[in-house]
Symmetry: C2
Subunit: 404 residues, 2 copies
């Protein structure tokens, strides 16, 4: 019982150098968090650092294209000119790529977290194999990098969102795509070799949850994001952080057992949520008209009040409520965001999900639970993917400054 | 979208003062992590700090009773005397109190994480009300503090483990005890006023998981601890940290839906794991002989091969496997520790739990899952409770030095 539990391993001593890093990161955080542009004087007051230290750090941040000066003079006090500082709108940027139910998406986000490019290409997932799909995405990546370069942005890294379980760039299993052990990271790296970008691959529900976290800002530090579609996944945000699990395979809500003796699931088990609440289950074998996406068909049929569709949406909502209750009992989270198809169908699903949750979550009798549609809609995963490296850079600007 | 997501709020700048704190914490971590006693020279080499800095910090740690010198001279090099340093065995200590299925426990742990006192009093939970139970625990607390004072230990704080959901000292709901909104923290503080200790109240499964984490050391950073008994709870350890949930109510595995149309549960829902796998469910209404605990009765009956008992253990294991599968699909954890009654009955349960998990957890087809009994047995929660403040002290010794 000698090893200290729950503690980081001992490291090297803190020296002058790391103090400089810490202070630079601190100043940058204040620039990022400021509602409007912030002056050097305000930074000194907010951080408690001396004016010369602030001056030196700001110089470094400007040289590294992380911060820019604004000409504005809005200090509120008359006669005193003021040079404001804001996160750069023409510095480093992040690229997000997403394989969606209905097509491919590419998105670029700048240092401020603003979406600067968003492209979508409809595609039938049943068609192309993995290399063809990733080649298509690679072309969209090149177009995105070129488009934002015209605005002075430098894309520094890309993240690919995949509806499946990912293990260090390798997609272990993505049933919707028919992928098993596909090295998507290597394939995409090869197809985008001219860009020379670091490439990261991650689960789409995780990335969508990350995107929603960004959209919610400081107002929502704990929530469960549930993504509906051909596949069902979840992303958990606890204390403002995405919980990826020990190997990044967390959030497999689609394979929660809803009924132990229920319908067989392609995964080999019985009664998985997937078999009740995937888009396939909701459409219940009815043929989707040509030129219509499965989502659009489900919405149209629910809208015209087709009894079969309404019944299967009801079944889906009940099953989702049971699975979500399990997650909430386990995690102690009080907010559920319905994403993907569940967001589109939320007006037919929310009440039913809520009634299961109110009945099955122990704490709901003394602390209410909120179920609501997600904010970013179908772009959540692409935006979250684009934010991955940008958020890392926002936290640790010194690593960028060292290489930049 | 201005607020930086997933980042700590900006704080004040790092100055000389916090540098001193960081370095003191670093040196203390190295003393704690050392397999045997460690010399000042070794500390300087390991931390990269100068010899005078080490000398000053060690003096502070010795004065604060956190570190002691050992006379040993085991440097391996002949002729060079060596004074070793170890965490103090007669400094601050933590007290853990636990309300168990079969009685009350008190435990004291020193800075090294070694159990220095462990007392148990069998008691029938159906008898005393909350104040009576907590008065009994207060007497055990006083005895514990006195017993370890004789060995030079100073108890600095106490943590009470309760089988229920706790909210800032108030037990919101503990059905096994018949408690609802009981301010256990205030009652225990009043009953132990002569000791003047800070008192913390927490869920027993959380604390037991913390105890198991300590017992496993660096070897097991991710696991799900499942506690069986009159009530069922779970504690989640991810990346070496206990996940308490947004309000500390995580781990309500007992109210996972196993069968949506199953037996009614006292919580108001149907088909909760509790109704299949609690000790009550396993004993299935059979009368426990006087002088025997429910656990002991279940083991004895399983041992003699009573068909009814074996059948209900089988049902419990299947239900537990279904609920645990949901948790593993969601959290991405590959190890499950069976604690409490489940540990005692593990030889009859493990295989069945494993078979459900292998069938229902998506990642199990490419990454094996381990199900095994917990290490600390029924004392896990009391030990984990005693460790709560001690671990905080191990991480942040400066707060103790400031007040000590």
């Amino acid at each position: 019982m000698n090893a200290p539990s729950g503690q980081p391993r001992p490291a090297r001593g803190a020296r002058q150098e790391s103090l400089r890093e810490l202070n630079l990161e601190l100043v940058f955080r204040h620039v990022l968090a400021a509602e409007r542009s912030i002056s050097r004087t305000e930074l000194a007051a907010a951080t408690g650092l001396t004016r010369p230290t602030i001056t030196r750090i700001v110089e470094e941040l400007i040289a590294g294209r992380l911060v820019t000066e604004t000409g504005s003079a809005r200090d509120g006090r008359a006669g005193r000119p003021r040079v404001g500082l804001t996160p750069s709108r023409s510095g480093p940027a992040g690229l997000g790529l997403d394989i969606r139910t209905d097509g491919l998406a590419a998105c670029v986000v700048d240092l401020q977290g603003t979406v600067r490019h968003l492209a979508f290409a409809p595609i039938d997932l049943e068609g192309p194999d993995a290399p063809a799909l990733l080649n298509h995405l690679a072309r969209m990546a090149c177009e995105a990098v070129e488009a934002v370069a015209a605005e002075g942005l430098t894309v520094i890294a890309a993240t690919l969102a995949v509806p499946g379980a990912v293990d260090r760039g390798v997609v272990r299993s993505a049933p919707v795509l028919g992928w098993r052990d596909v090295d998507a990271g290597a394939l995409l790296r090869a197809a985008t070799s001219e860009l020379g970008l670091p490439i990261n691959v991650d689960n789409e529900a995780n990335l969508a949850a990350h995107g929603e976290l960004h959209a919610a800002g400081q107002n929502q530090a704990d929530f469960l994001y549930v993504s509906g579609g051909l596949d069902i996944g979840a992303g958990m945000i606890l204390d403002g952080r995405l919980m990826r699990g020990s190997r990044g395979w967390s959030g497999e809500l689609g394979h929660f057992t809803v009924d132990p003796d229920g319908k067989p699931c392609p995964c080999g088990a019985r009664g998985c949520l997937q078999t009740y609440a995937s888009l396939h289950a909701i459409l219940d074998g009815q043929t989707v008209p040509a030129g219509t996406t499965p989502d659009a068909a489900a919405i149209a049929w629910a809208d015209e009040g087709r009894p079969a569709t309404l019944a299967s949406i009801d079944t889906a909502a009940t099953a989702l409520g049971i699975a979500v209750s399990g997650a909430l009992n386990l995690l102690d989270i009080d907010t559920v965001l319905l994403g993907g198809s569940f967001a589109l169908l939320s007006s037919w699903m929310t009440a039913k999900v809520k009634s299961e949750v109110d009945q099955r979550v122990l704490s709901s009798s003394w602390a209410p639970i909120t179920i609501r549609p997600a904010t970013l809609g179908p772009d959540a995963a692409a935006i979250g993917a684009a934010l991955t490296f940008i958020d890392r850079l926002r936290e640790h600007p010194t690593s960028w400054l060292a290489h930049g």
